[in-house]
């Protein structure tokens, strides 16, 4: 079955997660996504844990492979005198150009939107960096870890008496790709109806802040700075993670339990066998439970400590009480709900062998995402893209190749 973006052509410059994961959304649904890469300045994900003895060299990074399946790669040295012109020819082929270099980099090669659109007025182009393409801090050098701190996610994550930590995985790196995919899809719909292209400047910090609207509006309206509260909630208790018995030889096991209202509390007490402490009058209503959280949490921990996280989840959920295993990465690979959705797919990579990639969270009733190919080796498709997709004559390709621009 042809994917819903079959025929769509995307050209991708840059590296890391924010841009490339955004383009993956389209690649998984049949778009042709061509990455422009170079050995002169490889995507830093290709260098993760890279040493001179890394098997496969620049093609041996598992993280890169897990993020970039379904894409093609051309090796093109943009610092070579012929490089920018060849990149321009690729851009003329594309419907969408996506890049996440430092602001100003594309302009250096005359590959910025203002320049490209003169030749291709209906081009859709998206640039994403931490702080956006304009403003005094546009050139601030940072990765997702910095973006997450600047946007305020770190301040909101962790324990009130300790350092701000940020959610694992530098959250702006997982939010920005979704914003990118949304903005590009909306631009495609607009182009479809009007014929007009557009340029999208996606600041990862600003996009993150839109998610944190509650904190911004609260502060601007009331002066209150919402802070990190561990696992507690402002309006419900108990609400936290509780220690559990070892499972699969692993003793770092936890279950979360959340009681949202007094009916939940009754169900919870019932489910754990109505021990006398549960029936303490002070705990019957939300206000009282919020005031005595520490005591309740200690009691619950006594109950969970001898049980496995999975058994607690099943027992409480069967009673209509919210509970869930704090799953680690291994648990995810064995999770039946993710398995039912086909979240993990195996793919054969020429260097890494068989490895897993993950599908995004969207399922359509009339079309399916598909993992058609592993992540490309650096430059694997250079000849195919220039010769077959761009129709470059063999002689010209050979001459350029001899000049060393495909590096």
């Amino acid at each position: 079955m042809a994917g819903l973006f079959a025929g769509l052509k995307i050209l991708e410059f840059g590296g890391g997660a924010a841009g490339p994961l955004g383009c993956r959304y389209f690649a998984d649904h049949g778009a042709t996504v061509v990455r422009v890469e170079s050995r002169r300045r490889p995507d830093f994900l290709r260098l993760l844990r890279y040493t001179p003895d890394t098997k496969g060299g620049l093609d041996g990074s598992l993280m890169f492979a897990a993020m970039n399946c379904n894409k093609l790669s051309v090796a093109l040295d943009l610092s070579h005198p012929r490089g920018p012109d060849l990149a321009r020819r690729l851009a003329m082929w594309a419907d969408v150009v996506a890049e996440n270099f430092a602001p100003g980099t594309m302009a250096k090669w005359n590959l910025d939107y203002e320049s490209l659109r003169l030749e291709k007025p209906d081009l859709i182009m998206v640039s994403t960096c931490l702080n956006g393409q304009t403003g005094p801090h546009r050139s601030y050098p940072g990765f997702g870890g910095q973006g997450s701190a600047i946007a305020g996610f770190n301040h909101l994550t962790g324990w009130p008496d300790r350092e701000p930590l940020g959610p694992y995985g530098t959250i702006t790196d997982s939010l920005a790709p979704r914003f990118l995919a949304l903005a590009v899809a909306a631009a495609l719909l607009h182009r479809c109806r009007t014929g007009a292209g557009q340029y999208i400047d996606l600041s990862q910090v600003e996009a993150g802040l839109v998610c944190l609207s509650e904190a911004i509006v609260t502060y601007s309206a009331t002066g209150e700075v919402l802070g990190r509260m561990g696992n507690r909630s402002r309006h419900a208790a108990p609400h936290g993670a509780f220690p559990c018995a070892p499972e699969c030889g692993d003793d770092d096991r936890w279950v979360v339990i959340a009681v949202h209202d007094d009916r939940d509390w009754d169900r919870f007490c019932e489910a754990i066998g109505n021990p006398p402490w549960c029936r303490d009058e002070r705990f019957a209503h939300a206000q009282g439970r919020l005031a005595h959280q520490e005591e309740i949490e200690a009691r619950i921990a006594e109950w969970t400590r001898d049980r496995t996280a999975h058994s607690v989840m099943e027992q409480l959920q069967a009673a209509g009480v919210e509970a869930g295993v704090v799953q680690n990465f291994r648990d995810l690979t064995e999770d039946p709900a993710l398995a039912a959705r086909g979240h993990f797919r195996a793919v054969d990579h020429p260097v890494l062998g068989s490895h897993l990639v993950e599908a995004n969270a969207i399922r359509f009733s009339s079309s399916s995402e598909e993992i058609r190919s592993p992540a490309p080796l650096l430059g694997e498709h250079t000849e195919y893209v220039f010769r077959e997709l761009l129709g470059m004559p063999a002689v010209e390709y050979a001459a350029l190749h001899a000049e060393g621009v495909f590096f």
Binding site: Y25, L62, M63, Y113, G132, T134, G135, P136, R138, G142, A149, I150, A151, G152, F153, N154, H155, L156, L165, P167, S174, L175, L182, A183, A185, A186, L188, Y199, I200, S203, V205, E206, V210, C211, L212, S213, E214, T218, A221, T222, V225, H239, A241, A258, G320, E322, V326, N328, F329, L332, A337, L338, A340, H343, E358, N360, A361, I362, S366, S367
Partner: protein, 418 residues
């Protein structure tokens, strides 16, 4: 370009979501779609969530509700009433998209509870895109499980590696699972509208919030079979080679992140920091005289790290987050402040880009400041367009568009249909 209606201008979205899905409709509205929030007659349960403008509980003043329902109109409709159900199907005939949350325990029943399943909606309007956001997907072993943010983040694997090693795993105090899932919902809807351009047919878009959270682990789970790494909590330090390094540091008015990582991208930043410290007379000789070009965090001893970090830590305590961030921008230090809304609303960068938007909300007697466009487009048209609707604010307008006469509207209201 002010006045441009946005890339999704002309599409109509019926937003039947509960709290986990608010952001999806808001983003479609920011892009120009006519988003109509459909609430039960008593109002969305999330209107009761604190904090409130002015402090006292008021259905029109819940800040979490106001913050994520901008760019929407609002109507009330009792789907439990046969006539309410009929009106909803008529609305579906005028709409391109319906979004809802199938979220056990969220306080809003799914449409299917009112006999409004996908087949019924599809029959009413074959071009309709129907998006369901649920904790674990429409089907599967956990489909009936109750799950608010904390459970989805836990089950999605993002909580286990977040936090300190000596404490329980921890979540972000705002619901990140909602953000991840609602964003995938908005994206999935736009994709389905694209598919409709080719086929003319709408389709069902099924979003699992757990699966959306899994992506936030940056492929850690996919790597597990080959690496054996199931994730770990490292807190404010990271370990490399023979030593532990601090990543989060107290400064005069908060915290900054900075780490003594080596490599060509990072070493110039360490040098620049030492220069900056030296200008304030706070760079000891062993920092200035060290050969940083050979610095490698994988080979340094803990004793050396401790000495370097004690000097850096003492310096940071003399500076504010804003001062350190200014220096980071000017000197290319990879240092970031753990900003709170106080710093964010004062940030020069965001002001220079005109990021924040103020919207007059006359009926609430307030002028609130919101985060603005999630991205800037050269043709404009991405912005919060109006404050969150009051309960039933657009009943008259929306039902009139549907051809419901004024007298009939009054009668419907009297009979509890609206």
């Amino acid at each position: 370009m002010r006045g441009f209606g946005g890339s999704l201008n002309g599409y109509r979205v019926l937003d039947c979501t509960a709290e986990p899905g608010f952001l999806a409709g808001k983003l479609l509205g920011d892009l120009g779609a006519d988003v109509i929030k459909v609430e039960p007659p008593g109002g969305d349960p999330a209107r009761r969530r604190p904090p409130f403008l002015g402090g006292a509980p008021d259905l029109e003043k819940s800040i979490p509700w106001l913050a994520l329902n901008t760019s929407k109109r609002g109507i009330t409709l009792n789907l439990g009433h046969p006539q309410g159900r009929d009106l909803f199907l008529r609305l579906c005939g005028t709409a391109d998209v319906v979004i809802e949350c199938c979220w056990p325990g969220c306080g809003i029943l799914p449409l299917v509870a009112h006999g409004l399943d996908w087949e019924t909606l599809h029959a009413a309007n074959p071009a309709l895109v129907f998006c369901q956001i649920s904790p674990f997907g429409r089907q599967g072993p956990y489909a009936a499980y109750r799950a608010s943010d904390i459970t989805v983040v836990a089950m999605g694997g993002n909580m286990y590696p977040t936090g300190d090693p000596d404490r329980p795993p921890v979540r972000c105090s705002l619901p990140v699972s909602h953000f991840h899932a609602a964003l995938d919902a908005a994206t999935g809807i736009a994709f389905a509208l694209w598919a409709r351009e080719q086929t003319g047919e709408g389709q069902l878009v099924d979003i699992s919030a757990q699966e959306a959270v899994a992506m936030a682990n940056m492929t850690g789970p996919a790597q597990y079979p080959l690496t054996g790494a199931k994730g770990s909590r490292t807190g404010a330090v990271f370990r490399a080679g023979r030593a532990c390094f601090r990543e989060l540091w107290p400064c005069r008015d908060g915290w900054v992140s900075f780490a003594l990582r080596g490599g060509p991208a990072r070493i110039p930043g360490i040098r620049a920091l030492i220069e900056y410290m030296d200008e304030h007379g706070m760079a000891p000789a062993y920092l200035k005289e060290r050969d940083w070009s050979a610095y490698n965090h994988n080979t340094i001893t803990q004793e050396e790290v401790d000495a370097i970090e004690s000097a850096i830590g003492a310096f940071f305590l003399t500076k504010t987050m804003a001062e350190l961030f200014e220096a980071a921008c000017a000197r290319h230090l990879m240092l970031a402040p753990a900003n709170t809304p106080r710093e964010i609303l004062a940030a020069d960068q965001l002001r220079a880009r005109g990021f924040f938007v103020e919207l007059d909300d006359l009926s609430r007697g307030a002028r609130l400041t919101y985060p603005g466009a999630f991205a800037k487009s050269s043709i404009g048209g991405i912005e919060p367009r109006r404050p969150a609707p009051r309960l039933g604010e657009h009943n008259a307008a929306v039902y009139a568009e549907l051809g419901v006469a004024v007298a009939e509207l009054r009668s419907l209201a009297r009979r509890g249909v609206l």
